[in-house]
Amino acid sequence: MTEARPPPSAATPSPGPAPSTVPLPYGKAELEKRLGGDWEARVRAMYHGMLFGRVLDTRMLALQRQGRVAFYGPATGQEATTVGAALAMTPEDWVFPGLREQLVALLRGLNLTLYLHHLFGNDLDTARGRQMPCHPSAREVHYVSMSSTIGTQIIHAVGFAYGLRLRKSPGISWTFFGDGATSAVDFHTGLNFAGVYDLPVLFVCTNNQWAISVPNDKQTASATFAQKSEAYGIPGSRVDGTDVVDVFCALREARAEIAQGKGPRLVESVLYRLTPHSSSDDPSRYQPKGWMDKARSMDPVGRFEAMLDRIGVLAPSEREKVQAELDARVRSAIQEAEVMPPPRTDSLFEDTYKVPFWPLTEERESFDKEQGGNFP
């Protein structure tokens, strides 16, 4: 099969750090201090997780350009945040995601092939191909179904946390949303309700600096998105979202405080969107010249690799092996999922209600007649 050229702004997986890359500043001693005795295992897990996301995005964007999937919402540039978050969670936690957190689900154990069934919208998709790609539901890993409207999931995380506390369940609610969502109704709704009822919710604002084409300074006059939580009585902080170590430590600490009953927290993760908003977007229409060069120098994968080179963990040859393995996994999952048939037609009429009733029952009965036969 001929490979289409990836779109100009798509990052190549693990190119090795670019010359302009700003390396993560940590040495071994500092990593041990921040990550603990098993720091090296954590470092490997962080790299593996980030590269997994990068490889998947690169392959899927290529597939979208080839017309093999209709849509894809890449999260390239956000890997430090999703991986840092996934590693800071416990299995009991629940995730109310935005558009770019599927990597969290995968790192929590969502089967890759099952996720690919969703991306292809086929019969084995647990949601029967009803949603656009990148909108998975995965109850088994506590990854809650999302819509495409912005910010509505934030208040769901709060209501869910009410249940967690009422029933003294272990775990907390995590909700992810972008910079644009901080202007939406349910960002304010969610923070206000969480503050009033003092609930175990961790709000993660992934500030990738662009809400499609609208930059931060047209989204808000506030100096930061983190400071917005102060108005709701919730501590807010900022973290370098391209530094997986920093993200992991900040979220682990916030999670611990929340789990101790200290109430909700908001963490703003400042990062750079390294690909278009989605496969349907063209950033050359709105991004200033030079913005992407600066952004590339802060690529979370490149920054991490530059650090690895310095501390001598995961040598380039070893990294190439990791990448080849991940690429093979992704390709094999794609192969398996792409050949599956579309959802069976009965699924058109199912799951709107627990038990279908008129007019759905009548529409199902006449469906075969309406669809079958020759016209005229």
Partner: protein, 325 residues
């Protein structure tokens, strides 16, 4: 059996459900200490505590969104929206989220929430305490829409709603909160969805109504009985699911249909009923279908009595329909 008002029927159902099932909880504006602005939740917080009867911040999107999150956890939230007129900040949560969770997750994440809200005119409430917009919700797949007109149905339909597994919009006709009185069965009285109630039988014309229009239509039918017109009156009780068999069967018998609702006529629920009758009972019809509704304007304050269907308007429409053929 106990004699009570419609709003007492609502209160009894909430009380009983909360007593029977610790997962049931109530949330809304002013519903706790104050017992709700209409007193539908009177006494609940005192008996079941603040953790299960929540006074919320003033934000309908928050009330519904919070209830959705609670339902995803496995609780059975009953959210009160103070007036149907105030539900629109929550429209996104209802239409984009609540109604679609089961479908879009392939059944992995059903979100069962009951939204109770007083609706309808006749209380001098002006534009923003009077509207009937049930059609906006009845036309959204994934929601059920239920409307009682008697105390017994208020209790029985609400209990069914709370223990149903789909999201339910439970519309309470506030105009008859205290004027609709009657006997209500004690205990776990449940009224199934999708079954219309035959208020009175007749052979000349079928009258379809719900909510506060039912007692008015009943009066009109009683008056006309003396003039020799035998009208059949059906209280639809649930718009979604609709008792389509009862509707069609009645018109097959009478050959005439008059539809009554408070909401504006254009694209109102009556349009759906008329279309169903055109599809399924056209050859039984002896006269054009007539709709008696609110006018196609916003809801007025001073002239609300002229805007709302009255016994006279309903009665004359029935007379005209019977005379037409």
């Amino acid at each position: 059996m106990t004699d009570m008002t419609l709003i007492q029927g609502v209160n009894r159902a909430l009380h009983q459900a909360m007593k029977a099932d610790p997962d049931v909880l109530c949330l809304g504006e002013d519903i706790g200490v104050n017992g709700g602005v209409f007193r539908a939740t009177e006494g609940l917080q005192k008996e079941f505590g603040e953790a299960r009867v929540l006074d919320t911040p003033l934000n309908e999107s928050g009330i519904v969104g919070m209830a959705v999150g609670m339902a995803l956890y496995g609780l059975k939230p009953v959210a009160e929206i103070q007036f149907l007129d105030f539900i629109y900040p929550a429209f996104d949560q209802i239409v984009s989220e609540l109604a679609k969770f089961r479908y879009r997750s392939g059944g992995q994440f059903p979100a069962h929430v009951v939204l109770r809200t007083p609706y309808g005119g006749g209380i001098r409430g002006g534009l923003y305490h009077s509207q009937s917009t049930e059609q906006l919700f009845a036309s959204t797949p994934g929601l059920k829409v239920v409307i009682p007109s008697t105390p017994a149905d208020a209790k029985g339909l609400l209990l069914t709603a709370i223990f149903d597994e789909d999201p339910v919009l439970f519309l309470e006709p506030k105009r008859i909160y205290r004027t609709a009185t009657g006997e209500v069965p004690d205990g776990d009285h449940r009224v199934p969805f999708g079954k219309a109630r035959v208020v009175r039988e007749g052979s000349d014309v079928s009258v379809f109504a719900y909510g506060a229009m039912v007692p008015l239509a009943f009066q009109a039918c009683q008056v006309l009985e003396k003039t020799g017109i035998h009208a059949e009156l059906l209280d639809l009780r649930s718009l979604v699911p609709l008792d389509v068999e009862a509707v069609v069967r009645s018109v097959e018998k009478t050959g005439r249909a008059v539809i009554v609702h408070e909401a504006p006529k254009f694209c109102g629920f009556g349009a759906e009923l008329a279309a169903i009758l055109a599809e399924k009972a056209l050859y039984s019809l002896k006269a054009p279908i007539v709709r008696v509704t609110g006018y196609d304007t916003p809801f007025p304050y001073s002239l609300e009595n002229l805007y709302l269907p009255s016994v006279d308007r309903i009665g004359r429409a029935i007379q005209r329909t019977v005379a037409a053929g």
